[in-house]
Each structure stands twice: as structure tokens, then as C-alpha cells.
């Protein structure tokens, strides 16, 4: 065995290698699509049972899907979902169930608003500055859970649930004690000091599509490159797939947990910035909430894959965008939440079944291929 042989191995055509990859992808995509379809069918039945016309609802959704304004809204609403799903997926790839994105995103949004408002910079620097402040704040909050898990063995589910609650209280306290800004108008809508205009994220399409979409795209691409293409990402995934084998190969589990929580927090800190930099320009008690939890569902439906997450995020964004128009048709807008929920249920069930079916089929086919190869080899198992 020489190095040369590694670099230039004897060429052997392996037919069907690409086929294997493609098939696996098709099974994954197929099962997710079926899950979405099933969710729509069940929701339709629910509508019918409650005396609403499901076809009217679906044709309204069709209208929404073909309306350019509504498509911008879909993308706009999808952005925090996608960002939050990426944050969740980074840790999910390591086998952690990190539900702390909610707290991390609030921390990121709050500190970005506060610190960003007291800094004066030209826009070309101010926008990145606010983004960096947000992600560092998110990362620090996420790192607490990572530290607790590594040093004290605290389960990340427990610690992140608690940190979510703590984040809310800490932010409320900080806001009320230190950062309420009196603009002198006597308005009841108390907020932090407004960000200078240099920190506002410009719209790409006026009032319809915010420039933050570029940040989202960059994050998704970075997620793909780091987690799916880099050596670090390989080690992260290996540690999630078989922690013991990863440990045996010399990968430090503790280091992976800390890094994954930190990176996840970096991304989580960005979730609320579209709202901050593109819409509100300040932080107030009327802040958005729940993105951290919706992101878990989006990551689940998207199977933690960047393309899957974007598709699932757009679907959820679309359903949110369709909520208003449905209400006008006297169809309860909560039906979109029902569809989201049922989608998640059915994706868990259907993808599980599809994976088992695929595993069985692959195993059988590999065994058959080997017999065709004429080995006739038979093995004695323990």
C-alpha cells in the first residue's frame, strides 16, 4: 500500500453509485411531499366536517400562490422560519435537541437593538455591526447550555427550556429598568431607542421584500458548506450518527457540543433581525415570538437539509401569508396552523416508514447483487 495507490487508485467502474444517492434523495423528498399532501387532505376533511367548503379554501390558497405580492409576503414570512430552522438543524446534526433558539433569538434581537441604537457608523458598517452584535448575543446565550451540558452533564432540553424562560425575564427587566426610551410624545407604545437609519436594512422591493433575504441566503449556503462539505461538519455529523465511533476515532464530543451550540446560537441571534432592521427599527414588548419553535418544525420537515429547510420554510411562510385571505372568505385562518401541525405529524410517521422500507430494500438488493456477483459467499452470524 503506497500513498500513490491512495491518490491514484486502480480505476474501477461502479455502476449505480450515483443511482444510490439519487434514490435516497428521491425517497426523502417523496415522503415529505406525501406528508404535506396528507396534511392538506386531512385539513380539508376537517373543514368539511365543520361545514366549510374545503375547495373554496384550497382555491383561495391557489390564488394566493399565484399572486406576486403574496409571494413576496411568503418569502418575507419564511425568512425567520428558515433562519431558525438552520439554527436548530446545526445542533440536530449532532444529535442534540436544542429548543433554545427562541431565547437566543430574543437575546440577539434585544442586544442588536440596544447596542445598535447607541452607535453611529456609516450604513455599510452599521448594518454588519448590528448583525454581528445580534449573532454574538445569540451565541453567548446558546453557549450557556453547551457549557452546562459539557461541564455539568445537564440535558440540553431541560437547560434550553429554562434559558428560554430566563431570557424573556432578563430582557423584560433590562428593558424596563434601563433601555426604555422616552421619545417625548407621551406615546403608550414604549420601545427602545430607535436605530439610526444607517442601521436599517433597505428593502429590495419596496415594502414587500426586505434585503435581509440576502443574509438568509448566505446563512443557508454557509450552513451547507460548513456542515455538509467541511471536515468540521463531517465530524459533527459523525458524532451525531454514532457518538461512540466518533469518540473512538478521536473526535472530542465535548468540543463538538460546545462548537455546535455556539454556532447554532450565532445563527439564532439573526432570527429576529429582519423584524428589527427591516420593520420596527427598535425593540419593544410587542416583539414577535415563537420563531424558535416554528423553526424546529421547519427543520423537521426539511430533514435538516439546506434545500429541504428552504422549501419547508417557504411552505410555512406561504401558509402564514394565506391566513389573512382565508379569513376574508369566512374560513378560519387557524386552518393554516392546523395544516402545519398535521404536516409535522405525518412527516414523522411517513418518513419513518419510508426510511425503513428503503433500508430493507437496499439491504435485500445488496444481498442479491452480491449473489449475482457470483460470490456465493455465506456468512455465519454470531
Amino acid at each position: 500500500m503506497t500513498l500513490d495507490e491512495i491518490v491514484n487508485p486502480p480505476v474501477k467502474k461502479t455502476t449505480g453509485s450515483r443511482r444510490g444517492d439519487l434514490e435516497r434523495t428521491m425517497v426523502t423528498i417523496g415522503s415529505s411531499l406525501v406528508a404535506v399532501l396528507v396534511a392538506f387532505v386531512i385539513s380539508g376533511l376537517l373543514l368539511a366536517i365543520t361545514g366549510k367548503d374545503p375547495f373554496a379554501a384550497f382555491s383561495k390558497m391557489g390564488e394566493v400562490a399565484t399572486n406576486t405580492d403574496k409571494l413576496y409576503e411568503t418569502v418575507q414570512r419564511a425568512m425567520p422560519f428558515i433562519m431558525s430552522a438552520v439554527a436548530f438543524a446545526i445542533t440536530a446534526k449532532l444529535g442534540l435537541f436544542n429548543i433554545g433558539v427562541e431565547g437566543q433569538f430574543l437575546m440577539g434581537m434585544f442586544w442588536a437593538a440596544v447596542i445598535g441604537a447607541y452607535v453611529e457608523l456609516p450604513a455599510v458598517l452599521h448594518i454588519p455591526f448590528v448583525i454581528i452584535v445580534g449573532s454574538i448575543a445569540g451565541a453567548m446565550w446558546g453557549a450557556i447550555a453547551g457549557y452546562l451540558k459539557v461541564k455539568r452533564g445537564v440535558n440540553e432540553v431541560i437547560s434550553t427550556i429554562m434559558l428560554n424562560a430566563i431570557a424573556l425575564q432578563v430582557i423584560d427587566w433590562l428593558f424596563n429598568e434601563f433601555f426604555r426610551f422616552d421619545d417625548g410624545t407621551g406615546s403608550l407604545d414604549v420601545r427602545t431607542k430607535q436605530l439610526p437609519e444607517s442601521a436599517w436594512m433597505p428593502d429590495i422591493v419596496d415594502n414587500q421584500l426586505n434585503g435581509f433575504v440576502v443574509v438568509v441566503l448566505l446563512v443557508v449556503i454557509a450552513y451547507y458548506v460548513v456542515v455538509f462539505r467541511s471536515r468540521f461538519g463531517f465530524r459533527l455529523r459523525a458524532s451525531g450518527l454514532n457518538p461512540e465511533a466518533a469518540r473512538t476515532s478521536g473526535i472530542s464530543a465535548n468540543k463538538m457540543v460546545l462548537l455546535a451550540m455556539l454556532i447554532s446560537g450565532l445563527v439564532a441571534g439573526l432570527v429576529g433581525l429582519q423584524y428589527l432592521m427591516g420593520e420596527s427599527h427598535s425593540y419593544g414588548p410587542t416583539r414577535p415570538s415563537g420563531y424558535g419553535f416554528t423553526g424546529i418544525g421547519v427543520a423537521l420537515l426539511g430533514r435538516n437539509h439546506p434545500i429541504g429547510i428552504v422549501a419547508a420554510g417557504l411552505l410555512f411562510g406561504f401558509l402564514e401569508a394565506a391566513g389573512g385571505p382565508l379569513q376574508l372568505e369566512d374560513i378560519p385562518s387557524s386552518i393554516v396552523r392546523v395544516i402545519q401541525g398535521i404536516t409535522l405529524f405525518s412527516v414523522v410517521i411517513i418518513s419513518g416508514a419510508a426510511d425503513r422500507w428503503y433500508a430493507k430494500r437496499t439491504t435485500e438488493r445488496a444481498a442479491r447483487d452480491m449473489q449475482l456477483a457470483g460470490s456465493g459467499e455465506q456468512e455465519v452470524a454470531a
Binding site: 491518490v7 461502479t14 450518527l241 452480491m370 456468512e379 452470524a381 454470531a382
Partner: protein
């Protein structure tokens, strides 16, 4: 001995995808006896017992229990027929008491309330009549291994089992505990129970059984009485021929010491106070295979973890002249340390991942495969294809998930991954465990080739044939210590057996 047959297995065949685990198995177990089933690791003993216990269904053959043909669909059917199984790995809840563990799943009630008193009364009766003594109120967490095993046996008896299957019950026991277990088993049999005892330890089998059935390569070879055979003959039945003399090698052992282990100790993991590895020293030269014999669980695993840098250890590990005692695992591997793990599924492979990702697992520091910190998929796949063809791995392609391959082919890829990383020292733990004969001989050939090219190998194996076929020197581990060192030409199963059980000559 009465002539009633407690269990009859006729023509059993059990297949898994690509594998025939059992075929033409015929066993008759007489009621009220201890019947041993012996065979090497991977001979198909456990598969057969799972068939009898209803954990899976055979493709062919008949299972007859107490004269009635049975078609078990699940273990609960087998339990109803009076069969109980004590697994090798205990299945007990640590923070329950002994009584609670035993009644778990079959709780006696008066009305709706759990009737612990009645349970304890019955348990005390069972314990007294069988002579199996254990404190019924103790927490399982506080019990030693031998006592836990007694809890498992009581549990099986409590469910009304008359036929007990014990899967390698002595693997985890110290000699005194083994003696106690055998006393218990004899008492049980005297009270009318039937015991099926699985083992690959010949001295124990000879000591305790009334009849012995030998399994080799998935099928029954013969059934003999202990009075009509001896250990050597049993060993021959197990391996199929006279024990092979180590094949004479044509290359010389090098002078350079590649691996030098000095006074290495590893603390016990939690329960029990004794260290798992106790002051072990040895060295391995370039081009040498040092065989480590020993009953599993005598510190071999912890020794490997210490050498790999994965366990807290004292003493020094010197690797090709570098003292790596305080270096992290990855650095040791980068210096040329490779490892074929004890259990490929838990320590070695990512079962859901493709072959090429599995190849990358221990090789991702190779700049050819991961230039500048990014995975060069094309290069990794090419390297995988090369390993596949060189090690004759039967697979449709390098992209299929590795669970689709048979155990032998998974192992060949794993061995190829480690040998192709260009190591100077290889820790090979059970390199051919659970693989077929063809894969075994090809793995042996590859190990010999690598040895001839100068690789230093520490070979840990429970397979005497493998030990004798490959080793240049043999050390025997017992109870965390090196109990003996000998040359393969001096090794006999009896001698090794004595050393492996702590004896001296």
C-alpha cells in the same frame, strides 16, 4: 436421567439477508439435565437460542417443547411454554430493589394494589428451594455482577420457567462466582428443571454438563457425553480439525520497538473497586504480531482504550519512540496508530452512512482526503473504491449505506480502512469476529502482509485458532494483569485455558 425430552430442535434453519446463520441444527435436550452448547464466537449459538426463545422465527425446522410442537411468535409465547432466558447482558433497573425487578411485568396484585408481600413470600420459597440466595430488599445498583445474575435467574424462575437458557453466563463472573453458579444450576436440575448452557469455555462445560452439543459454522457437529470426551477433542470439534500450528513466517521480526506499554493501569468503571487494567507492560516490535489471549472482560478493552488515549490511565505508552501518554487520541492516530475495534457496530462504523463516509471516519486528517479542511468527496470515494477492490468487499457501490452489507464485508472495509491509512502500529481486536470463513482467511492474509511490511500488531482475540495462526508471541490477560507470556509453539488449549482462568503452571 429420564428419557423425556424437554426440548427438541429438528432441522432448524435461520437466514438473515445474505447470511445463513443456522442450518441443519438438530439438538435433543433431556429433561432434568444440564445441556451445554459450545462453539466458537460467531458459530451461531446465540442465533439458535433466540430461535428457541421466540425472538425470531426459523425459516425451516421444528421446535418441540415437552413433546408439543411449538411455533413461537414472541418470547412471551416461549415463557408461556416454560422457557426462560438469562441474557449475557443483564436487563435490570438499577434503582429498583431486587424484588421489584423480579416482579416487573408480572406484578401480583390483590385487587388493584401491588402485593409486594405475596411476591416476596413466593420469591423466598423459590430462593430457598433453588439455593439461590440474594437480598430481596437490596437495590440492584448496589449488587455485584454475580448477584445480578442470580436476580436474573430468579426472575426467570418466578415466571415459572422449567427450561432455562443461559447465554454465556460465566463470561462476566470471577471463578468463585462461577463455582457458585454451577452449584445453583445443579440444584435447579435436581429439582427437575432443565438447563441449556451456552459457552465457549471448555473446562466449564466439561465440569458442569450432562451432555454437550458442539456447533460449528451454524450447524450441529455432534453431541457427546463429558465422560466420553476431553477438552482437546471438543476443541477439535469446534474448529473442525487439529489445532493449526502457526504458519511459519518467512520474514524477520524487526529490531525497532514500535509500541512500548509500561506499567499501564486503568481504574475500574464505577462498580467494583479493582482496576480494570493493573500494571500491564509489554512491547511490540516492527513486523511482529503480539497475541493477547484471555476471557473477554479481563481488561483487554480498557487496555486498548488506554493505548488509544480514550481512557484515563496511569503508566506510559511509548509509540515509535514518542511518549504519547498525555497526548489526545487524534494525535496518537496521526502518528500512525490504527484500531480495529472490539465491536464494529458501536465503535467502528456509522451504520446509516455510506461506505465512503465510513472510510473517512478515521482518515479525515489525511490531507489527500480533506485538503484545507474540506472533504474532497471525489478523492474519498476513489480511495474507498480502491479499498473495496483491494480487500474484496462485496458491495454494489461505495455509496450504499453500510448497513446493507453483510457483517463480513463491513469488517473487510473496516480492516481495509485501518490498514490503508498506512499505520505503524495496529490494535486489532477480534478482527474476524462474526465473519464468514472466506472473509476470515482474507483478513488474516491482509494482516500477515501488513506484518511482513513492518507493521506492529497487537492482536486481541478470543479465537484460539486465530491466536495461534497469527501470533509471534502470546501474552495472556487475566483480571487486568498479564498472567503469562508464551510462544505459540508451546501453546495448547489446556495451557491457555489454565492461564486464561488465572492459573499458573
Amino acid at each position: 436421567m429420564s428419557d423425556d425430552l424437554a426440548v427438541e430442535l429438528i432441522g432448524i434453519e435461520k437466514r438473515f439477508p445474505g447470511v445463513i446463520a443456522n442450518h441443519d441444527v438438530n439438538i435433543s435436550v433431556t429433561s432434568g439435565t444440564i445441556h451445554a452448547i459450545v462453539g466458537e464466537n460467531g458459530a451461531g449459538k446465540s442465533t439458535l437460542m433466540k430461535t428457541l426463545y421466540g425472538m425470531h422465527r426459523p425459516e425451516k425446522g421444528r421446535v418441540i417443547v415437552n413433546g408439543t410442537e411449538q411455533n413461537f411468535k414472541s418470547p412471551s409465547d416461549a415463557i408461556d411454554a416454560g422457557i426462560g432466558m438469562v441474557h449475557q447482558h443483564f436487563m435490570l433497573a438499577d434503582n429498583f430493589t431486587v424484588t421489584e425487578n423480579i416482579i416487573l411485568g408480572a406484578e401480583p396484585t390483590n385487587g388493584v394494589r401491588l402485593d409486594l408481600k405475596a411476591a416476596k413470600r413466593r420469591l423466598t420459597e423459590i430462593a430457598t428451594s433453588s439455593g439461590i440466595e440474594v437480598d430481596l430488599d437490596a437495590l440492584v445498583a448496589d449488587l455485584g455482577v454475580g448477584q445480578r445474575q442470580r436476580v436474573e435467574i430468579l426472575k426467570v424462575l418466578y415466571r415459572g420457567a422449567k427450561i432455562l437458557i443461559l447465554d454465556e453466563p460465566t463470561a462476566v463472573l470471577v471463578p468463585q462466582e462461577v463455582d457458585e453458579l454451577f452449584e445453583n444450576l445443579k440444584q435447579l436440575v435436581a429439582d427437575g428443571a432443565t438447563v441449556i448452557f451456552i459457552s465457549h469455555k471448555l473446562d466449564e462445560v466439561m465440569a458442569v454438563s450432562d451432555e454437550i452439543t458442539v456447533i460449528r459454522a451454524g450447524t450441529t457437529v455432534t453431541t457427546v457425553l463429558p465422560s466420553e470426551t476431553d477438552q482437546k477433542q471438543l476443541a477439535e470439534y469446534m474448529v473442525g480439525s487439529e489445532l493449526p500450528a502457526g504458519e511459519p513466517r518467512t520474514t524477520e521480526i524487526g529490531d525497532a520497538v514500535r509500541l512500548d506499554v509500561n506499567g499501564v493501569s486503568v481504574g475500574a468503571g464505577g462498580d467494583g473497586g479493582r482496576p480494570a487494567v493493573d500494571d500491564v507492560s509489554f512491547s511490540v516490535h516492527a513486523g511482529e504480531i503480539l497475541g493477547v489471549a484471555g476471557v473477554e472482560g479481563n481488561g483487554q478493552f480498557e487496555l486498548c482504550q488506554a493505548i488509544l488515549g480514550l481512557a484515563d490511565a496511569t503508566g506510559s505508552v511509548i509509540f515509535d519512540g514518542h511518549d504519547v501518554s498525555s497526548r489526545p487520541a487524534r494525535e496518537r492516530q496521526d502518528l500512525g496508530l490504527a484500531y480495529i475495534p472490539f465491536d464494529r457496530h458501536t465503535e467502528g462504523l456509522m451504520l446509516d452512512s455510506s461506505l465512503w463516509e465510513n472510510l473517512l471516519l478515521t482518515r479525515d486528517n489525511d490531507p489527500e482526503l480533506c485538503p484545507h479542511g474540506f472533504v474532497d468527496q471525489a478523492a474519498v470515494r476513489a480511495a474507498t473504491v480502491a479499498t473495496i477492490s483491494r480487500y474484496d468487499v462485496m458491495t454494489p457501490s461505495e455509496t450504499v449505506p453500510i448497513y446493507a452489507l453483510s457483517g463480513g464485508n463491513q469488517q473487510k472495509l473496516l480492516v481495509g480502512r485501518e490498514l490503508d491509512s498506512g499505520p505503524t502500529v495496529l490494535l486489532a481486536a477480534h478482527p474476524t469476529r462474526g465473519v464468514d470463513v472466506g472473509a476470515q482467511s482474507s483478513i488474516w492474509d491482509k494482516l500477515r502482509e501488513a506484518r511482513d511490511a513492518g507493521l506492529a500488531v497487537l492482536l486481541i482475540t478470543a479465537d484460539l485458532e486465530e491466536l495461534l495462526a497469527l501470533s509471534d508471541r502470546i501474552i495472556v490477560m487475566f483480571d487486568g494483569k498479564v498472567n503469562a507470556e508464551l510462544s505459540p509453539s508451546d501453546a495448547t488449549p489446556e495451557l491457555l485455558g489454565t492461564y486464561m482462568t488465572g492459573g499458573a503452571v
